[in-house]
Amino acid sequence: MSTDYTDMQLDAMRELANIGSGNAATALASMLGREVELSVPRALALPLADAVDAVGPADRTVSSVVLPIFGDIDALVLLLFPTEDAATLCGLLGVEAGTEVGDSAIGEIGNILGTSYINALASMAGLAIEPKPPHVVTDMLGAIVASLLSQTVGETDSALVLDTGLDVADAACSLSFLLLPTTGGIEEILGRLGVGGA
């Protein structure tokens, strides 16, 4: 199974991330009543260790929400919040960060944003996919990303990571969105988008 992608395939994946996170940004904006800006998405096809590094400094402590996706493809949606930004977000929602309520608020935000993201992805690529309940973990970024990649890439030596950032206007609050498909999942998505076959 090939893990080298053409520019056209990476563009297609980037567009998918753009539409998914655009949909998530709209959901976040209406939840907070603030404008939300979207960064230019990255589609990173990299050797595993480089993929972990590309997401950010391995020793940075972050809050994360993971939503496993199952159905026509298996994938993990990962939302990453710098710890201070998770606190800001909790503040905007009127709950205290670092508490059970704060964690559950972050989990719920992750759930809503993750679901909007994959709904857009499903309709664009014509996939029947559903999320499982979200899971919230605050830990080292490198440990989070590496643990999830061990689940999705298996024996493959490279990973495809789709990465977008969302910024909440006037609140110094940002989060990033990652889609980690299994290697088989990537082939399936590319096929559905009409750019399959390496």
Binding site: A75, G142, T182
Partner: protein
């Protein structure tokens, strides 16, 4: 300092050196040392076994990483009979997963222990399991292994020098 990233392996005989893996989640950091010759090697193991994969990275799979650690240590002057091991990592950070890949951490720890037993290398200290990510450092000159969790303090897990052998045993869950 040498950073050993996911799937990688490094060896050193330089006393000032540190071998380090940042953010071990379900992965396992396996240190193999020969104290008498001041040889230390570290692998960052990601999965239990390589199913006949050609050109697999040396450190990625437990079943290939242990023989590779032994070979690299011997190449740097270590004696096989003196090799000792320290393990860190193998956490289960998420209850969720894709497919049947739950708890890779525990399977990694098991596979590393089996591979070490097969190579007749005793495990002197280990901190595996639990739910937290860890950073592991092997200080080549001092022959110590330290562990740090996110937001936590750096703790000495094992000291191989000087004086009599000490060992620490801390297995979570």
């Amino acid at each position: 300092m040498k950073i050993v990233r996911m799937g990688e392996l490094a060896v050193s005989t330089t006393p000032e050196d540190e071998l380090m893996t940042i953010g071990l989640g379900s992965c396992i950091g396996v240190a193999v040392v020969d104290r008498a010759r001041s040889v230390a090697a570290l692998a960052h193991v990601m999965l239990p076994e390589a199913a006949a994969i050609p050109d697999a990275p040396a450190g990625k799979f437990a079943d290939l990483a242990i023989p590779a650690l032994v070979a690299e240590s011997e190449r740097m002057g270590a004696r096989r009979v003196r090799l000792e091991a320290v393990l860190v990592g193998g956490a289960q950070m998420f209850d969720v997963g894709v497919g049947s890949t739950l708890d890779i951490g525990a399977r990694n720890a098991q596979a590393v222990r089996e591979a070490l037993a097969k190579a007749r290398i005793p495990v002197r200290a280990q901190e595996t399991g639990g739910r937290r990510g860890r950073t592991m450092r092997v200080h080549v000159g001092a022959m110590t292994v330290t562990v740090k969790e996110a937001g936590g303090r750096e703790v000495e897990l094992w000291s191989g020098s000087p004086g009599p052998r000490r060992s620490a045993e801390a297995i979570h869950r």
